[in-house]
């Protein structure tokens, strides 16, 4: 009994710990500024409105009789709000491209590394893991230097390449462990029955691997979606090439409207919430970066 | 040291009834074995006695005291598990000392008792080692030493011999019995291995699907199985079951069907007709009570066909086919015959068990 109530208390505590910061920003994004700054603060949104979300993308919808302020009108005139929309569209193109290229490269390699006794396998794995050991700060400066020298700054290609340099090794690593852990007997049986390597993969491995591959693809999407440093350094200066994260930061540095900023960030984290729900079941099986996951037995 | 009594104890996992209204009593200093196939609720019963699981209903008594609300560490018991459950990062010495240290016994006493227990199990030379450096049999001894070191009033052992190799197991059986008789501690021992139960137990309780199937001295259970389950579960090779009916004609009562018939003595026939009138019956005969010959024998013998022969060296097991059914008979080692050969089979009248087919209970 004591045990049960202690457990219950911890469950509630963990749920509060995990959700409160998200709640706080959603709360702010749903209130007019005068309510946001009200003292004492409102713990539940007062007069909730979605107006900020419409304003973000340049809509003139007004509720609660609050006019768009002079600064915001200036910003609109100079096309700044379109920039946010464009940033969102850009990342919605770039992230799937990164995801697809990553999966095309990582699935065959992870399969081969996970299931075959390839020569120098451990050396290959060492290179993959080693690429994770370098702190990002040591990587982004040279990349900035590189893309500046070849005049690709502001071009989405530079961001795609920089993101791939991280996603491909990680996803290959995860898939190596994942393919290694799938049962092998059926594949062997298929080979004995005379299936070629690709047929065996198609009929005896893929059906079991598909959900895990889906979860991995979601990860490969989440990385560019969430990535900030490369996005900011490599596309930051460009009007047409900027992505959402990097545009948002410069935009709200100039246009410090808290509820608007909050709704912009909520839009940024919504996919994360969806991803969390999808990944939960696979996260223990995929062992996201656990080095022990791929050690050959 | 203690008598253990369960009264109407049940345990549910969700809607699944793992233990169903179990009531039995274990005598002081008794070596009591709970026997049953895997998943029948043996471990659950043992865990309830230990206090590791709460029963949904029923009471557990140690002597006259109800212990339902006493936590496991206060019940003065020791347990040994199939997996040995040694603390992986403690040495053998520290493992055996663990239950004493937790009870804050003086250092000198701990040292002395650990030494005694280790010597009793002949593992004193292993004391500085760690569990991963030991073989299965050695780990098993460490687990036992840890159990006896505290001199508890009750031992609970959950399949302690299942994880060691066959030869060592035979040796450990004898050693465990000697240890128990020496320490005189009430012991409840769980196993799925009927040979262990037959050779070690003072009394055995046979479980099936959460229910008590039979309880008694091993030989009584073997000789007089209370139902078809116990009859089929105990004994190797398992008992043969002949479906049959009872007929009386001309003052003679016979059991039989299309392929065979045996005469029943009048006393037995009367019991059967009292307890199971007009019922379909099952005649149970252990393979040791079937004899086979290539020529017709005196008395009730019937024809069958050889289906398979398994020579074991000391004896030979012969599978015979009667209609669509195959039965086993144990013959002498020098019995030889060809497959599909016709033979004569005779049932030893003293080895017959009669069951009611519908209720599955023994009738006579």
């Amino acid at each position: 009994m004591v045990r049960k109530s202690v457990l219950g208390a911890f469950v509630v505590l963990i749920a509060i710990w995990s959700l409160t910061p998200i709640y706080t920003i959603v709360n702010i994004s749903l209130m007019r500024m005068d309510n946001v700054v009200h003292i004492p603060g409102y713990i539940v949104p007062k007069d909730p409105t979605f107006n900020q979300y419409f304003r973000l993308f340049g809509s003139d919808i007004k509720t609660g009789g609050v006019e768009v302020g002079a600064a915001e009108q200036q910003f609109r005139k100079f096309g700044q709000y379109q920039g946010l929309t464009r940033g969102l569209i850009n990342i919605l193109i770039i992230a799937p491209v990164v995801m697809i290229i990553t999966m095309l490269a990582a699935v065959p390699a992870g399969y081969a590394l996970g299931r075959f006794r390839i020569k120098y396998r451990n050396a290959y794995l060492g290179i993959l893991l080693g690429s994770r050991a370098i702190p990002p700060v040591s990587v982004v400066i040279p990349y900035y230097f590189l893309f500046k020298s070849v005049n690709l700054l502001g071009n989405p290609i530079s961001l795609i390449i920089a993101d791939l340099s991280i996603t491909i090794p990680i996803i290959t690593w995860i898939l190596t462990g994942f393919f290694g852990s799938l049962p092998r007997d059926l594949e062997k049986a298929a080979r004995v029955d005379g299936a070629t390597m690709s047929q065996a993969f198609r009929y005896a491995v893929l059906p079991f691997a598909l959900p895990g591959l889906g979860a991995t693809a979601v990860l490969a999407f989440l990385y560019p979606w969430n990535e900030f440093l490369n996005a900011w350094l490599l596309t930051g200066g460009s009007v047409s090439g900027q992505v959402y994260n990097s545009f948002m930061t410069s935009f709200f540095a100039m246009q410090a409207v808290d509820n608007l900023f909050a709704s912009a960030v909520v839009i940024q984290i919504i996919p994360a919430l969806v991803v969390a729900a999808i990944l939960q079941r696979y996260i223990t099986r995929l062992k996201i970066v656990d080095p022990s996951a791929v050690v050959m037995t | 040291m203690v008598r253990v009594r369960l009264e109407g104890v049940s345990k549910k996992y969700g809607s699944f009834l793992a233990v169903d209204k179990s009531s039995f009593e274990v005598d002081d200093k008794e070596f009591f074995i709970i026997l049953g196939p895997s998943g029948c609720g043996k471990s659950t019963t043992l865990n309830i006695i230990a206090g590791l699981e709460e029963p949904a209903e029923g009471k557990i008594y140690f002597d006259e005291q109800v212990v339902n609300d006493i936590p496991p560490e206060k019940r003065d018991i020791a347990m040994v598990f199939q997996s040995f459950a040694l603390y992986p990062n403690l040495s053998v010495n520290e493992n055996i000392a663990f239950p004493l240290k937790i009870r804050k016994r003086p250092k000198e006493e701990v040292r002395r008792k650990v030494q005694e227990a280790a010597e009793k199990l002949r593992i004193a030379h292993l004391l500085p080692k760690r569990p991963y450096q030991l073989s299965g049999g050695e780990r098993q001894r460490v687990a036992l030493a840890r159990a006896i070191v505290r001199e508890p009033k009750l031992f609970l052992l959950d399949e302690p011999l299942s994880n060691i190799d066959a030869k060592l197991r035979v040796h450990m059986r004898a050693e465990l019995i000697a240890l128990q008789k020496d320490l005189k501690i009430t012991t409840i021992y769980v196993t799925h291995d009927q040979v262990e139960a037959m050779t070690m137990a003072d009394r055995v309780l046979v479980m099936n699907q959460g229910k008590i199937a039979q309880m008694g001295k091993p030989l009584d259970v073997f000789r007089k199985p209370a139902n078809l389950f116990v009859a089929g579960f105990i004994g190797t090779p398992p008992m043969n079951f002949f479906p049959c009916t009872m007929k009386t004609s001309g003052g003679k009562t016979v059991l039989g069907d299309t392929y065979f018939s045996v005469t029943l003595d009048p006393a037995r026939a009367r019991t059967v007709s009292e307890k199971a009138p007009n019922s379909e019956l099952v005649l149970g005969v252990r393979p040791q009570h079937l004899s086979i010959s290539t020529s017709k024998m005196d008395g009730d013998s019937f024809a069958a066909e050889i289906f398979a022969v398994e020579p074991l060296g000391t004896e030979t097991i012969v599978d015979i086919k009667l209609g669509d059914n195959v039965y086993k008979a144990v013959t002498s080692a020098n019995f030889s015959s060809a497959i599909r050969e016709k033979v004569w089979v005779q049932i030893d009248p003293n080895g017959m068990q009669i069951f009611d087919k519908k209720t599955e209970m023994a009738v006579a």
Binding site: P135, Q268, A276 | E73, F81
Partner: protein
């Protein structure tokens, strides 16, 4: 395995590994070369080779020294909090109770949020004018009037808390995976033995999560030691440099002061620090007692 398989596998793997090698080898070599020059962002074509000057300057740079101390404090605080939080969360998730599936989803949410957004969330949560934290504490009567939490003394601790909030979920799943290998029998044994919850953790649970904990410590140190974005989005490195970590400072050198060579040299110090710390963990957690 036959020859064709070996060949196919080779074709699948080797190009990718080669790319991974160059993609990661290039920045290492390049940043090392840069660190030996006085390359300036305004004019990449003209630079001088300066030898170890940048490294010597780094050691004598008061602001770098200060940022190194900030970094060490941040890594220490984060690692301690992540270790405790991830073990606690994993122990709860390892229990069977109704709604445990839902709790798993809830727990993993903070991990899926970008470091950038986490900093913004933290800033809003603690906002001196309208933050929820002030709201809650005021409503509970614990503080009178709104308080500024992101002061020079406390800001780094709060950044560390939010960074922990961000990365502890993934770490707790590592621990959870290893918790599931603790044998049920051993746990029962310890209850019969009457071991206290602390002893049970120490002798039953800990030996099985030790390796996972090592990985958690290494990964957390790596991540926290190079964290930059969260300081940028939560406190802009302030107030007064109180949350300016070494990585943050090296970025300032390179983006604001435009000194690519100096920034690269500083990033090498950080790299070396991280490798050294990681090796220390391996030593501490893998050495045999006695």
């Amino acid at each position: 395995m036959n020859l064709t398989e070996q060949k196919i596998a080779f074709v699948l793997v080797v190009p990718l590994i080669a790319v991974a090698f160059f993609v990661n080898g290039y920045p290492i070599v390049q940043s090392f070369w840069l660190s030996l020059t006085d390359t300036n962002l305004s004019d990449l074509a003209h630079y001088n080779f300066v030898g170890a000057d940048n490294y010597v300057n780094g050691l004598n740079d008061f602001f770098f020294q200060r940022s190194a101390i900030v970094s060490i404090r941040f890594v220490a605080e984060t690692t301690a909090m992540v270790a405790v939080a991830s073990i606690a969360i994993a122990l709860v998730l390892n229990e069977k109770f109704r709604g445990s599936g839902l709790l798993k989803v809830i727990v993993i949410v903070p991990w899926a949020i970008s470091e950038y957004a986490v900093g913004i969330l933290g800033g809003f949560f603690l906002n001196a004018n309208f933050g929820l934290w002030n709201g809650v504490l005021t409503n509970l009567g614990l503080i009178k009037g709104n308080t500024n939490w992101l002061t020079a003394q406390m800001a780094l601790d709060w950044v560390a808390i939010f960074y922990t909030w961000n990365i502890a979920p993934l770490m707790s799943f590592f621990i959870l995976t290893s918790l599931q290998t603790v044998p049920e029998d051993l746990y029962k044994m310890s209850r019969v033995d009457g071991a206290s919850p602390f002893r049970r953790f120490r002798y039953v649970t800990f030996p099985f999560i030790r390796y996972a904990l090592l990985i958690v410590l290494v990964l957390t140190t790596m991540a926290a030691g190079s964290a930059t974005v969260i300081m940028y989005s939560m406190t802009l490195g302030g107030p007064g440099g109180a949350t300016q970590t070494a990585t943050y400072y090296s970025f300032v050198q390179f983006l604001q002061k435009r000194q690519l060579g100096y920034g690269a040299a500083l990033s090498w110090y950080i790299f070396i620090f991280l490798i050294a710390t990681t090796m220390l963990y391996f030593y501490l957690l893998t050495r045999r007692r006695k």
